[in-house]
Subunit: 301 residues, 2 copies
């Protein structure tokens, strides 16, 4: 229900165009068809034209004449990736979507100094979860891109997620900096960084959000657990964003929510000049659609 | 249902005695009363005798005359911790339980060279989960004790969890060594250690279990996800034990299972000469009982 609202919001944002790098695979075409049906955006598909056309015919032949769909032939995966990135940097499209191309090849094109989408910021992955029993979004960052971010990288990852939170309607995001414990412990770098980030927020070095940490996951999302530990904070028990200390933490939390808690998710890579959708084959069709809607909600006006 | 079977098993194991360090707090007395009602074990309670007696009177006066309950007065928390540890090393008790004493004080007594419970092994925390939708136990280690274990420590943590898995009826535990990805990546120490542990198992350096890693959480517990990635393994999709690379990973996974997936848990510290129950006030009464039952199942015969 929560994530469905992003589809409505993306539709209302109107007139956006998604450049798809290497669209010549069934699950990507399925996601694009889904999005066209819901009138989410226009699409430029880069890849093997013949294969793309035959995949579309298999699904819904009529869409081949849809004026919101353009197909541009490319000879290789590399060329599909670079052409899609160029479409975004030339303002022909305002969202980049990964198709049948390895993430590292697409990201290399994104970071290309000549035609890429660099802004000087760290690129980071933020996922937006709808969790059974929780009537608000919970955002998690970074579960997929930054392996072991240092403090300065954490600041940028945090900032990227705050911009995204605002795009989905969270005016003043509450950011919990997650560690294994809620006390500062010099043997645990996660707790030291959390304390630093909290103070940077208090000193006005990190703005547009309320940061508190270190917090255990329980203290971050359960008011009762926070109360048990005597934690008084504007974030504890009601965090919107969970900033995790390392990729393994975010990745395990992300997958635990999907596989154990039956949560739904959309995710986007932020920090480039346009939002990037990096779905993988293993993602459900629903999750791909949510990610696309999320990216469209993040387009700068 | 799964965890309830541990209570039956612990009862059948019979004639065990639990030494409780600093029992003079309501939630610990409640757990002890619960366990006595279920005939789990006998108890020696160390702490302020007057307070313990008045707490028991408040709950169930009749139990004061229960021959399975002994109360021994101690003057301080330190003395309660040391006395309970001594009771175990003197074979008066075979399980140690933390009461109203900070973990570090209890563990210091456990590690005391003169009267402690050292075996030369790493002490590690293993939790046994019953997760809605999963009809088998899933064990997680280490979510609470070892901050950033190196390879040698991971071997010992793994071995401790294998012994525990056998105690709860898993004859040949399948151990997934968890990382963010299922490929070996020199930038991710978790994947290198996972590869090393897998090969140590193949070479007979780690026995009594089947180890595979690196695996993402999805590949470890979902056969479909493993198949999607083309992973062929005796562990992938059906892991019994999840060995995580660092405390933050285990801690977040543990709490995610409790708070998001509504899982039930019991946990124990293994690696000392007797199992140790380290519950905290925030644990539910049910979880304390499961932890106690789990510890009793681990008692060496």
């Amino acid at each position: 229900m929560l994530l469905d609202s992003l589809i409505d919001q993306a539709t209302r944002n109107g007139h956006n165009t998604v450049a798809v790098a290497a669209a010549d695979t069934a699950d990507v075409i399925e996601a694009v068809m889904d999005a066209l049906n819901k009138n989410l955006a226009e699409f430029i598909l880069y890849g093997n034209q013949e294969k793309i056309i035959s995949l579309i015919k298999m699904q819904k032949q009529g869409l081949l004449n849809n004026h919101k769909l353009k197909i541009i032939h490319t000879d290789s995966i590399l060329s599909a990736a670079e052409s899609a990135v160029r479409a975004v940097s030339n303002n022909q499209a305002n969202v980049l979507m990964k198709g049948n191309v390895p993430s590292n090849i697409l990201l290399k094109a994104v970071l290309n100094k000549e035609f890429g989408l660099r802004t000087g910021n760290v690129l980071s992955h933020t996922s937006v979860f709808e969790i059974p029993g929780f009537n608000q979004f919970i955002l998690i960052t970074d579960a997929a891109m930054n392996i072991a971010p240092d403090l300065e990288q954490k600041v940028q990852i945090l900032n990227n997620s705050v911009v995204l939170a605002k795009s989905v309607g969270i005016e003043m995001p509450r950011v919990a900096v997650i560690a294994a414990v809620e006390t500062v412990n010099s043997d645990m770098q996660a707790t030291l960084d959390a304390a630093a980030l909290t103070m940077m927020n208090k000193r006005g070095q990190i703005t547009d959000c309320i940061v508190d940490g270190p917090l255990g996951l329980d203290n971050a999302i359960s008011e009762l657990a926070a109360k048990h530990k005597g934690i008084i904070s504007k974030v504890a028990g009601k965090a919107d964003i969970l900033l995790v200390p390392a990729i393994e933490v975010g990745n395990v939390l992300y997958k635990s929510l999907i596989y154990f808690a039956k949560a739904k998710v959309g995710a986007v890579v932020a920090g480039a000049s346009a939002p990037i959708v990096l779905t993988s084959r293993a993602d459900s069709a629903e999750s791909k659609l949510y990610s696309l809607a999320l990216a469209l909600c993040c387009v700068k006006k």
